[in-house]
């Protein structure tokens, strides 16, 4: 599976026997002066050539220890990339001539923000991208965009690293040799001629989910010219179940958009509303808005029924761990209980839940919503939306629109069948990596071999491109003109932040080349499309405004008034019978379906619930683990349908008892230096018919072990009052319950007078009731503060560098635990234990209350980290930051120091942002206003859980939150007096379910 390791080759070169006689002959026959460095060089052996070309002498990285050598090389990819590889690329130009006429709004040192969209699996999320001197460095949410409202998810935050990834595909290749776009354009012209003459028979286009109106139109136009051609959409994390389920319920394919800001009761049947859903960022915001315990209307209540714990489950008031296969019965029983469906109700294992939820829903007709997850079979969706219709939620809390994805003309199984039977002569793959992504049962690789001409557009030289005749390097989303729709259909015109670093092309341009317009730029194509859409009335002003705002106003898809189909329940069939262990497939929270597998930030970001990094795992319930006698990190053989895959076990509290979950996106064998070799490939036992869960899986121990890099091994709070939580009833009786814990020292205890903060006094408050643990803050901080990636072996040693981490605790039983998240930044303690112990005064307190690190002064005794009770200090044990790779230079935030080896670092409260605001304010001779300083974690937070500001300003948001009755400090009994405090969590439990 793995390529022969190039690095190992030169080792033979040194030991290869030399033919000295031949060397003499060669030297004597040479003309002119000959310079040679070694005998091997004169011999000119291929191994020696490889040795010379290979910049890295074998073994140079073997210094640290044997386990990390390979890993180190891999993680060199994104964060420590090899400088040599970037030599042939167009890197940030080194201009030495100053601008004679500076571009408008171009002030050196001052970032500019552009609105655009970054689509994932077809779904766009409106963003603003910070650009420093033409380099995009940081993604922020677009506050005006309905899907973002200023926040983003982790995938968008990591997009900038994807842009500068040194492993990106950098050239057009033809049969593995370097070619050019011009050559492809020429070849496309020829291909077009022949396709036109054959009316396109045998020509197939395979795309990922396409929501882009212009691309869909371009493909349709091409297909119109070529009646024999067909278009297939294959999205590994598809929402086909959703649209199909709604077709069952309403008679035509639709998709739901939830209005969680109007829902008092939310029931999620395996819907990861705040994680995997395309509207996750908006949903989390709306959910949190309704979750204010102090609000007069009370807070909402969330029930989650799911097989494997998600962040949505973690946010739930009641979470039921239920096998995926049982969810349909659960939904039907609920529908029967509510009178939406005719009985008899199927037998369910948790009738009490059905009764309680049904009663709660009935009490909130029109102000509740039931949601089903995209991983559930269509029948669940049909039942769920029948319930919504029955409860009067349709049109209120759940609205239905046309599906976002363009309609393709062929399904993947059909396409593969045609390929196998040699009916496909030319396959154009626009994006995606089907060779890796397609479930194994379709045997895509064999089928692909039978296609005579294979063309692949892709961001990486990956598994698929390796077997294609043409590979065209795809432009990154931040380099492209395009358009895409957000979860509710709102169109965003994508505008590039930077010219393609490696001359990449977009799908639109490739289709245009085949449509006879090889010279058309993506900009022109998008502009023309929208010009045509507006019947030629799109003025430059309007166009510019749309670009500036980041979306086309009023482009959200219209809500459809839809009655339930008459005999909708008849078409559902009966729920599948379950037997044995159930196996769930899920996209990974970070690397998704594998497309982000080469992104070091995402690889190293701890998964929200498991806190695993750098690997996927066979997640089993504690019960199954006990039954089979398996421990964490045991490598097991996972069998299903005659296929097997090996992976390490991770026991997950809250996993449904008979349920196994594996995540997609790992086991890449040609995905770049970071991706290759990490984890196992779950696609190998996935089936296309039932892509999300199957029953009858088997587990067998292999006896092998595989270390998993988990950043938090300990699950329990050990009875310490870290996350403080109360039921809504208790909160109403005793709103300041969180402050009555432990004995804090009195302020007057100190002999010294209190320091008076004359100017600003910065502080932060984090609302644990709003935090879903989605990780966006961690990665936003990483992007903002140039935080290094350290690699799996270093994470295994507990040396991860994140400045803000999210602590996850389980409470209650192993099988049905409550899940709590607690983001930890530096607390900027008033009596900071770290400051007094630093021997060189490298960490000091500013007169605005910041606990600041002076990197230049730090000698690295690590005493401060030892003495920090919150353990938020991070040490550069090695030179973690990549100082060599040129492509990564562009990524860095110029306002933040890139740290060197041997120094301590930690959260600064984004002091660079404070200073930027200060300069602005001082120019205008005023104080910094509340809301002007927004830390990176605060900005990205989908639920606005983080507030930051001046505590001296009594009307600032943070000062008000600090006065909230739920406000408490962590470990205040140590007299550290933290500046970051928490608002306690309040749980709105249903008394019916609490009783037992």
């Amino acid at each position: 599976m793995s390529e022969p390791n190039q690095i190992d080759a030169p080792a033979e070169a040194i030991s290869a026997p030399l033919d000295l006689e031949a060397l003499r002959t060669r030297l004597s026959s040479a003309q002119g002066p000959q310079f040679w460095r070694s005998l091997e060089e004169i011999a000119g052996t291929p191994q020696f050539q490889a040795f010379v070309e290979n910049e890295f002498t074998p073994g140079t990285s073997e210094w640290s220890d044997p386990v990390s050598r390979r890993r180190l090389l891999e993680l060199l990819g994104a964060s420590l990339g090899l400088a040599g590889l970037t030599a042939c690329t167009r890197q940030p130009a080194e201009k030495i001539v100053p601008y004679v006429k500076a571009p408008e709004e171009f002030i050196p040192g001052k970032p500019v923000y552009y609105a655009t969209a970054i689509p994932v699996s077809g779904y766009a999320d409106g963003v603003l991208v910070e650009s420093h001197m033409g380099r995009p460095t940081k993604v922020e949410g677009n506050p005006e965009h309905p899907s973002s409202l200023g926040a983003t998810d982790v995938l968008r935050q990591a997009a900038v690293l994807g842009l500068y990834d040194p492993d990106r595909s950098q050239v057009v290749t033809r049969e593995g040799r370097v070619s050019s776009w011009m050559s492809f354009a020429a070849a496309a012209g020829t291909l077009r001629e022949s396709l036109l003459s054959s009316k396109g028979y045998g020509f197939r286009i395979l795309t990922e989910a396409v929501t882009s109106p212009s691309l869909a139109a371009a493909i349709r136009n091409l297909l119109a010219e070529l009646p024999g051609a067909k278009w297939c959409q294959f999205e590994p994390v598809s929402r086909a179940n959703v649209t199909e389920g709604l077709r069952l319920a309403f008679g035509r394919p639709l998709q739901p958009v939830y209005k969680l800001d109007q829902a008092k009761v939310i029931v999620s049947l395996d819907a990861d509303l705040f994680g995997a859903d395309p509207g996750a960022v908006r949903y989390a915001r709306d959910f949190a808005a309704m979750r204010k315990p102090e609000a007069s209307g009370g807070m909402n209540r969330l029930y989650v029924v799911e097989p494997t714990p998600s962040i949505t489950g973690g946010a739930a008031d009641h979470r039921l761990a239920l096998e995926s296969c049982e969810v349909e019965s659960f939904a039907r029983a609920l529908a029967v209980e509510l009178g939406v469906m005719a009985g008899p109700a199927p037998e369910v294992s948790h009738p009490r839940w059905i009764k309680a939820i049904a009663a709660d829903l009935s009490k909130h007709k029109g102000a509740c919503v039931v949601a089903a997850g995209q991983f559930q079979v269509p029948a669940v969706h049909a039942v769920v939306h029948a319930i919504n219709a029955g409860l009067g939620n349709a049109g209120n809390t759940a609205i239905y629109t046309e599906p976002l994805e363009a309609t393709a003309s062929q399904t993947l199984p059909d396409l593969v069948e045609e390929m196998r039977t040699s009916q496909v002569s030319t396959l154009l793959m626009l994006g995606g990596n089907p060779l890796y992504q397609v479930p194994a049962d379709l045997e895509f690789t064999e089928a692909l071999r039978k296609v005579r001409m294979r063309i692949h557009l892709g961001a990486y030289d990956d598994e698929t491109s390796a077997v294609c005749h043409w590979h065209i390097n795809e432009a990154h989303g931040l380099e492209s003109w395009g358009d895409a729709r957000a979860y509710d259909g709102t169109v965003t015109i994508q505008q590039p932040l930077i010219a393609p670093l490696y001359g990449g092309k977009t799908a639109l341009e490739v289709v245009a080349a085949l449509a006879g317009r090889p010279g058309a730029t993506a900009h022109d194509l998008v502009r023309e499309y929208w010009q045509a859409q507006n019947k030629g009335m799109l003025t430059e002003d309007v166009w510019r405004k749309q670009l500036h705002d980041g979306f086309v106003p009023g482009s959200a898809l219209a809500a459809q008034a839809v009655p339930l189909a008459k005999d909708w329940a008849a078409g559902l069939g009966s729920p599948a019978k379950t037997e044995g262990l159930e196996l769930n497939f899920r996209p990974d929270a970070n690397v998704h379906d594998g497309r982000f597998a080469n992104n070091g930030w995402l690889q190293e970001l701890p998964r929200p619930i498991t806190k695993l990094t750098w690997d996927n795992a066979v997640q089993v319930s504690p019960e199954t683990a006990a039954k089979l006698g398996i421990r964490n990190e045991d490598v097991v053989e996972l069998r299903h349908g005659g296929r097997t895959v090996h992976g390490p076990v991770w026991i997950v509290p809250g996993q449904a008892a008979n349920s196994i979950t594996v995540h997609l996106g790992y086991g890449r064998w040609r995905g770049g230096r970071v991706a290759t070799g990490a984890g196992f490939n779950a696609n190998l036992i996935r089936t296309s018919g039932t892509p999300w869960h199957v029953t009858g899986a088997q587990l067998a121990k292999t006896g092998a072990r595989h270390a998993l890099a988990c950043t938090q091994d300990h699950h329990s709070m050990e009875g310490r009052e870290l996350v403080r939580i109360a039921g809504l009833e208790k909160y109403r009786k005793e709103p300041d319950f969180a402050q009555h814990v432990g004995h804090g020292p009195v302020k007057e205890m100190s002999l010294f007078p209190e320091f008076k903060y004359e100017g600003y006094s910065w502080g932060m408050a984090i609302d644990l009731n709003a935090c879903t643990g989605c990780n966006a803050c961690t990665i936003a901080c990483q992007a903002e503060n140039n935080i290094a990636v350290v690699g799996k072996s270093e994470v295994l040693r507990g040396r991860d560098m994140h400045w803000i981490r999210i602590d996850r605790y389980f409470e209650g039983s192993l099988d049905a635990p409550e899940i709590h998240h607690q983001p930890l930044t530096c607390m900027h303690c008033e009596n900071a234990p770290c400051e007094v112990v630093c021997p060189v005064a490298a960490t000091t307190h500013s007169e605005e209350g910041l606990n600041q690190m002076t990197y230049n002064r730090c000698v690295g005794t690590r005493y401060c980290a030892n003495n920090c009770p919150y353990k938020v200090r991070r040490f550069n044990f090695f030179l973690y930051d990549d100082w060599e790779s040129k492509s990564l230079h562009g990524l860095r935030n110029p306002d933040v120091t890139v740290r060197s080896r041997g120094v301590m670092e930690k959260c600064t409260y984004c002091v660079q942002r404070i200073n930027a605001a200060r300069i602005e304010a001082e120019q205008e001779d005023r104080k910094i206003r509340d809301g002007e300083v927004v830390t990176a974690c605060q900005a990205v937070c989908p639920t606005q859980a983080i507030a930051f500001g001046d505590l001296n300003d009594p009307v600032s948001r943070v000062a008000k939150l600090k006065k909230d009755s739920r406000n408490y400090g962590l470990l205040t009994e140590l007299n550290t007096r933290p500046r970051t405090t928490y608002l306690a969590k309040v749980r709105n439990a249903n008394p019916e379910l609490e009783k037992a």
């Binding site: 040396r799 930890l824 021997p839 005064a841 690295g860 041997g902 120094v903």
Partner: protein, 461 residues
């Protein structure tokens, strides 16, 4: 000199001698100076030094690797920021204490039995401090900037941060090293003069002549010498207490459960003396056999040192007891968790091994029979050295690995680089010791002469 002091018949006297009978001034001088001057370098010395030097090379290699790659080669991590580096620093510093105690406090207390062991105990102190000194420098993330811990006028316009115990350490340890070196050297001057006078080879004459600094043994010299050594003893005495007290502040000032304890200073000092005497025993028992010094380092010495070990061991045991008691009595959940974690956490074996080594094993020293059994003493001394090392392991990584927030709990395991560095310092210590034994009088000649009974001394003269 030929008599075998292992014979029980010789040991019937209840009061041992600090020097076996039958020695004269000359025999003392002959015997000790011969080791340096006239005897052929023994093969065993060559082998011993060769091995030690190779082990020392390991230290050079591991420190070289550290400079090239970074502190990450070691097993330290988050949350355990200090591991072998500080364990071994404290261990070595502790070992040094016995030397100072013997040479300073016992001198002031006129304990003349100290005479025969003080020279090499002082050497041991010095070498142990040299080994210890490596760690604070190299354990920093940027060792080339470690000198910033010293107060010196600089263009950065900043001084060390004097609230930090690490700065106190700098003063404590550097003072300690300076005073110990001075004391050792000044105490050696009369003997160096003896060696100068007895040396036959020219090189040796020059070498010892330079070191002897013109000592002629005049009454004035002796008077000055007596004053100087008393003054130095006076200076060194508080150091016995202060150095390890300051070292214990590194922890006691910290906020971490297991560190933040007022008992630390006395408990550390007792532990240091405990460890130091163990090391003196570990060294002197084989030395007196190899160099046939049983007449000078007699069973009385061993017995006395064993008693000191027993006493300090009891103090250390009391320290462990009080830590446990306070964890319960304070009602502090973090403290009581810490003790629970020591007793039954992932490092419980280290803790119980520590109790066995430091509390249980020394108890056999209550019996004179065992105190007189040289092999047994040797074994106990090694066990105590291990126990004291384990104590530092329990205090440093075991306290750090599980502190306040369970989310950041971790584990600490040393890497091969940690071991290489530690073993390398053992090599440095042994190499220095071998060089000392070969080049300098390991027992104070002139002081030994003072304890030779006057009648006997003259009769043989």
């Amino acid at each position: 000199m030929e008599h075998d002091e292992q014979q029980p018949s010789k040991a019937v006297d209840t009061e041992y001698e600090v020097i076996e009978p039958g020695h004269s001034y000359r025999s003392v001088t002959d015997h000790i100076s011969a080791i340096v001057l006239t005897r052929k370098t023994p093969k065993t010395w060559l082998i011993g030094f060769g091995v030690s030097f190779m082990v020392l090379s390991l230290l050079l290699m591991s420190l070289g690797g550290l400079l090239v790659k970074g502190i990450g080669l070691w097993g330290v991590n988050q949350p355990v920021g200090w591991g072998f580096d500080i364990i071994n620093f404290v261990w070595w510093i502790g070992i040094g204490h016995a030397g100072t105690l013997i040479s300073a406090i016992l001198l002031l207390l006129r304990q003349d039995w100290r005479t025969s062991i003080n020279r090499f105990a002082e050497a041991m102190t010095l070498f142990a401090v040299a080994c210890a000194g490596i760690y604070p420098v190299f354990h920093t993330g940027r060792p080339w900037l470690a000198y910033w811990l010293f107060p010196y006028p600089n263009t950065m316009g900043t001084w060390p941060q004097v609230l930090s115990p690490l700065v106190w350490d700098v003063f404590a340890v550097s003072t300690y090293a300076t005073v110990s070196a001075l004391f050792w050297y000044v105490g050696m001057i009369p003997d160096l003069a003896t060696l100068r006078d007895r040396a036959r080879a020219k090189g040796a004459k020059i070498f010892y002549g330079m070191l002897a600094m013109g000592w002629r043994g005049s009454a004035r010299h002796w008077a000055r010498y007596e004053t100087a050594s008393l003054l130095l003893a006076g200076l060194a005495t508080p150091l016995v207490i202060s150095v390890h007290t300051v070292v214990s502040f590194d922890f006691a000032v910290g906020i971490i459960p297991g560190w933040h304890a007022t008992i630390f200073p006395p408990y550390f000092v007792a532990g240091a003396i405990f460890a130091g005497f163990a090391m003196v025993l570990t060294l002197s028992i084989p030395l007196r056999v190899f160099y046939k010094l049983e007449d000078f380092i007699t069973n009385r010495h061993l017995d006395n040192m064993a008693k000191v070990m027993l006493a300090t061991g009891l103090i250390v045991g009391y320290g462990y007891m009080m830590e446990t008691f306070m964890a319960w009595y304070s009602g502090n959940p973090y403290e009581s968790f810490l003790m629970k974690n020591r007793f039954s956490g992932p490092y419980m074996w280290f803790y119980w091994a520590l109790i066995t080594c430091n509390v249980l094993a020394p108890q056999i020293l209550w019996w004179r029979r065992f105190r007189r059994n040289v092999t047994m003493l040797f074994v106990v001394s090694i066990i105590v050295s291990i126990g004291m090392w384990l104590e530092r392991f329990i205090i440093i990584p075991v306290s750090l690995h599980r502190d306040f927030l369970p989310s950041s709990w971790g584990m600490y395991w040393p890497t091969s680089w940690d071991w290489m560095t530690f073993i390398g310092t053992l090599g440095l210590f042994a190499s220095l010791m071998f060089i000392f034994l070969r080049l300098l009088p390991m027992i104070s000649i002139f002081e030994m002469r003072t304890i030779v009974p006057p009648a006997e001394g003259r009769s043989k003269e």
